[in-house]
Amino acid sequence: MAEEVSCLKARLMEKEKEIVALKNKLALEKNSLIDLQEKVTTLPPLKLKAALSNEDIMRYSRQLILPEFGVQGQLNLSQTSVLVVGCGGLGCPLAQYLAAAGIGRVGLLDYDEVELSNLHRQVLHGEDSQGQAKAQSAAHAVRRLNSTVECIPYHLQLSPENALQLIQQYDIVADCSDNVPTRYLVNDACVLSGKPLVSASALRMEGQLTVYNYRGGPCYRCLYPKPPPPEMVTNCSDGGILGVVPGIMGCFQALEVLKIASGQGSSCGQQLLMFDAQDAKFRSIRLRSKQASCAVCGENPTVTHLVDYEKFCGSAATDKCRRLSLLSKDQRVTVQEYKSIVDNTAAHLLLDVRPLVEVDICHLPTSLNIPLSSLEDRKSEHIRVLKERIGRVKEQMSNESQVPVYVICKLGNDSQKAVQVLEKMSGSEVDFVTVKDICGGLMAWAQKIDPSFPQY
C-alpha cells in the first residue's frame, strides 16, 4: 500500500513539473507573438533608461568603446523611436541594423505581403513568410535578432488620414518607400510634425540618399517642387534592381539614423549621396539650402495640411505596374483568342517588343523580337528583318488580305505603344499590315493558357 502511495506521489510531482514547463512554454510563445497593427494607435512613451545593464554592456560592447558613440550614445539610442516606411529592399537592412544596434522602438510599416520575387533584396523575409504581411515578417526577424527592441508592425497604407498621427509618435522617420506619392506624403508629414526624414531610394544599379528637414536644411519639396511626369517614373518591377544596391543604401540609411539618434548628428542634411554600383563610385553633392519659396517648409506655405498625393503626382501610391489603355477594343485580342489563332495555324506574325534581356528569360517559340525602342527609333536592321518576315507570312497566305501582326510584351503596355507605331508604318515603311496587341501580354499567357510558362 505504502509503495503504491509513494508511486502515485512521484507521478503527481512529475505531472506538476510538466504543467510548469508547459505554462512557461505558453508564456514564451505568447511573448513572441507580435500584435500586427491594422490601424494607427497611440503608443505609450518609451521607458526611461538611466543606466545600461550588464547584459547591455556585453551586447553593445563593441560600439560602446567607440569614442564617437559611448555609453551616452547607447542610452540615447534606447530612448529613440524610428518609423520605417516600407519593409522592402531598403527597409529590411535598415530595420536589421537599427535593431542590432539597440534602438528603443522601431515602427515597421508596409501594406504589402511577401512574394517570391521580393526575396532577392528584401532580406528579412524568408521562403516560409511568403504571403505573410511584410510588416509582420520583418517584425519577427527583428524580434529574433534583439528582443529588447520594441517592435511595432503596421500592416496598412500610409495615407493623408493616418500619416500625421503616426509620424508624430516617432522621433525619426526613414523613407524606404517605392513610389512618388508616398515620398511627398512622408515629406509633408515630417515637415508638419517637425521630424527629420532619412530618405533613400534605389533603382537598377544606382542609389541616392539625403536627410531632409534636418537642422534647418531643405525638405524634399525644396528640391523637387513639382513631381516628375508619371511616365518618367520607373519602378523596380519594370526597371529591375540588383538586391545588394538597396541593401547598401538601406545600410547607409541605418548609419545616418543611428548618428542622429545617438546624438552625433548627420552630415547629409544638405547633401545628396549618390551611389553608382556599376562603377563602384560614391559621390557627395552639396545641395541648395531650405527654400523660402517652398510650398510646405517655406515662408508662406500653401501646404498646411496633408493633401491628395496621388492626385498631385498623377500616379498611384504603389509600385505595382500601371495598366495602359491606348487602343480600342478591335485593336486588341485576348490570350484565349490568340491561342485559337495559333491552334488554327492561321498565318500571322507574332512580334515580341520586349528588351532582349527579357526575351532571354522566356519567349514564345515563333515570336520575332524587335524591342519597342528599336521600332520607335526605326532601327534600319530591325525594320529590314520586319519587312522580310511580313513578306514571308504574305507568301503563306492564299488571299490578298493584309498580313495580321500580333504584338506581345510582358504585361500588355509596351505592346499597345508598338501597335500605334506599326500602324503609322503600315503601307509606307512596311507592307500593309493589320496590327493587334495581345491583352495582358506573356504574363496573362502564363496565367491563363500555359501554366508552365515562366512568370517574372
Binding site: 516600407g86 527597409g91 512618388v180 516628375p228 518618367m232 526597371g239
Partner: protein
C-alpha cells in the same frame, strides 16, 4: 568673341537612357559672341544630343521636373541655375531622381 569651351557632361539615375545609355560625354561648345550659360547649354543639348522625345529631358527652357542639375558637384541652384556662365572644363551632371525601394 568667346572661345570654344570643352565641358564634361554626365547623365545618371536613368537620364542616360535618353542619350544612348552613355553616361559620360565630353563635348566642345563652339565659339559664339556671348559666353555660354546653362540656358544655352540646354538648347544645345536638345539640338545636338537628344534624338528622340526631347520633352522627357527639357520642358520650356529648363529641365523637366525630377531631374537634378549639378555643376561641379554642387546643386545648380547654388550656382545661379540657368544664368550660370559655363567655364572651360566644367562638369555638369543631370541626374534623374530615383523612387524605388
Amino acid at each position: 568673341m568667346a572661345a570654344p569651351i570643352a565641358i564634361h557632361l554626365e547623365f545618371g539615375g536613368g537620364a542616360e537612357l535618353l542619350f544612348g545609355s552613355v553616361k559620360e560625354h565630353h563635348v566642345t561648345l563652339p565659339n559664339q559672341s556671348e559666353p555660354w550659360d546653362m540656358k544655352q547649354l540646354l538648347v544645345w543639348i536638345r539640338g545636338n544630343m537628344l534624338k528622340e522625345r526631347p520633352e522627357l529631358f527639357v520642358q520650356g527652357d529648363t529641365v523637366r521636373p525630377g531631374i537634378l542639375v549639378l555643376i561641379n558637384d554642387a546643386d545648380w541652384e547654388l550656382m545661379g541655375e540657368l544664368e550660370y556662365e559655363l567655364q572651360d572644363k566644367d562638369n555638369v551632371v543631370f541626374i534623374s531622381t530615383l523612387h524605388g525601394g
